[in-house]
Subunit: 250 residues, 2 copies
């Protein structure tokens, strides 16, 4: 999977770190990238502090093919992402004519398009807009960085706009097999299968539920036939341990 | 809030980065730390790769008072956290007598306590155990790093064991006021309040729901009276904008 484009997510917002809000955007982006054959390598969450956003962004954009940021592009004083991104790239930031137009169109009474709302049209120099079909205020792309909204429904809409701009890799095929077997009972067999099939990544995830324990085994790789072969081995392993293996989708 | 102990979370697991699993452990730890007056400053997620775990851990443990890792301490081949932590600290790793005893007690038939299950008793030199009241396999503490399980129910139980070991800071008081008002309509007033009360952090979070839009304003600070004063200002601001402010708990 090392030849695929790589990506990182940078979530920006005190509300995630205080525990007030459960981040779901990272998971949405992770699932979005899978079919493109883009490998998500890292997720970071930092607060609404310019120096921390700048440091994290500069590390991640140098290390990975793509960086997706979410959060901090609204109209209020705590929305500092656009300024931090401009600072990270060492470029200026100014009102973007097209962004102003998109935003102005949203307000029947021009008086409602106040100074703070105009802030949302401030875009780093050289960036291209990412359309927001939900609430007008655009995201933007600068180099390999996509700056997206934090509100989940808006972020998802922006991802659709981003899709045509992404280089594609080879999608990963994934098969999951589950059974009510203790992970520790099959661990040695699992390691042996992994050794025999180094091109398929095998993950083992124990499950603890009110109705008992079990394990989910995941085979992931590029070659569908090879992944199926490994899934067959995993199924046999679970059956040999007394389980009734079930294939889960996906 | 800068005098409080700081913390980071390091989530370890391919299943988070593939999007297969939604991480909830970070949010649990964030909410757990609040009452202790420990400030969560950063969350990172990396995959099951030793070099990435080691690099992230060494950065985070140098930067923050505490690091909490979750994931990768089970019996299977993809559980490499304990070895990676030992490598990050430059110490050895071996079977820990007490951990072996705790684990052995779980198996009526000694034959079930196989080599892979014994792996879960491998603990870096100098670490102290963190008891696991759910499934026996312990976590461990080494210096300022707490190594916890990835299964949420087990991780929560381990947090209870960790609690007495933590230095406490001044807890943050938080009040949330909400109304069906557009964020952009109050943004200027909000910025003015923030300027007048620099010791209270004001966050603004737009809400988009099927039944309409609105905003949640959060005031956070150490001084309960001051936070209440700011909450009063926020309530007046929302009312002046035509909203019917509601106080949310917490």
């Amino acid at each position: 999977m090392s030849e695929n484009p790589t990506a990182a997510v940078l979530v920006i917002g005190n509300e995630i770190l205080s525990g007030r809000t459960q981040d779901t955007n990272s998971n949405t982006i992770a699932r979005f990238l899978g079919p493109f054959g883009i490998t998500l390598k890292e997720i970071r969450v930092v607060g609404d502090f310019a120096d921390e956003i700048i440091a994290a962004l500069n590390t991640l954009r140098a290390r990975y093919c793509y960086v997706f940021t979410t959060g901090g592009i609204g109209p209020t004083h705590d929305d500092i992402t656009a300024d931090a991104v401009a600072a990270a790239f060492g470029v200026g930031i100014d009102y973007h004519p097209e962004a102003l137009k998109l935003l102005a169109a949203r307000f029947a009474d021009p008086a409602d398009f106040n100074a703070m709302r105009r802030r949302m049209a401030r875009i780093p120099d050289g960036a291209s807009l990412i359309r927001n079909t939900v609430s007008a205020a655009p995201g933007f792309q600068i180099d390999n960085v996509f700056v997206l909204a934090g509100v989940p429904s808006i972020m998802r809409a922006m991802l659709d706009e981003v899709a045509p701009r992404l280089s594609r890799g080879r999608p990963v095929i994934s098969v999951t097999v589950a059974a009510a077997v203790a992970e520790g009972a099959i661990a040695a067999g699992l390691a042996a299968i992994q050794t025999r099939f180094p091109d398929v990544a095998i993950g083992s995830y124990p499950v603890y539920r009110a109705d008992g324990y079990g394990v989910q085994l995941v085979a992931r790789g590029f070659d569908p036939a090879l992944v199926e072969t490994v899934a067959g081995e995993l199924t046999s392993l679970l059956a040999a341990a007394g389980g009734k293996p079930e294939r889960l989708s996906p």
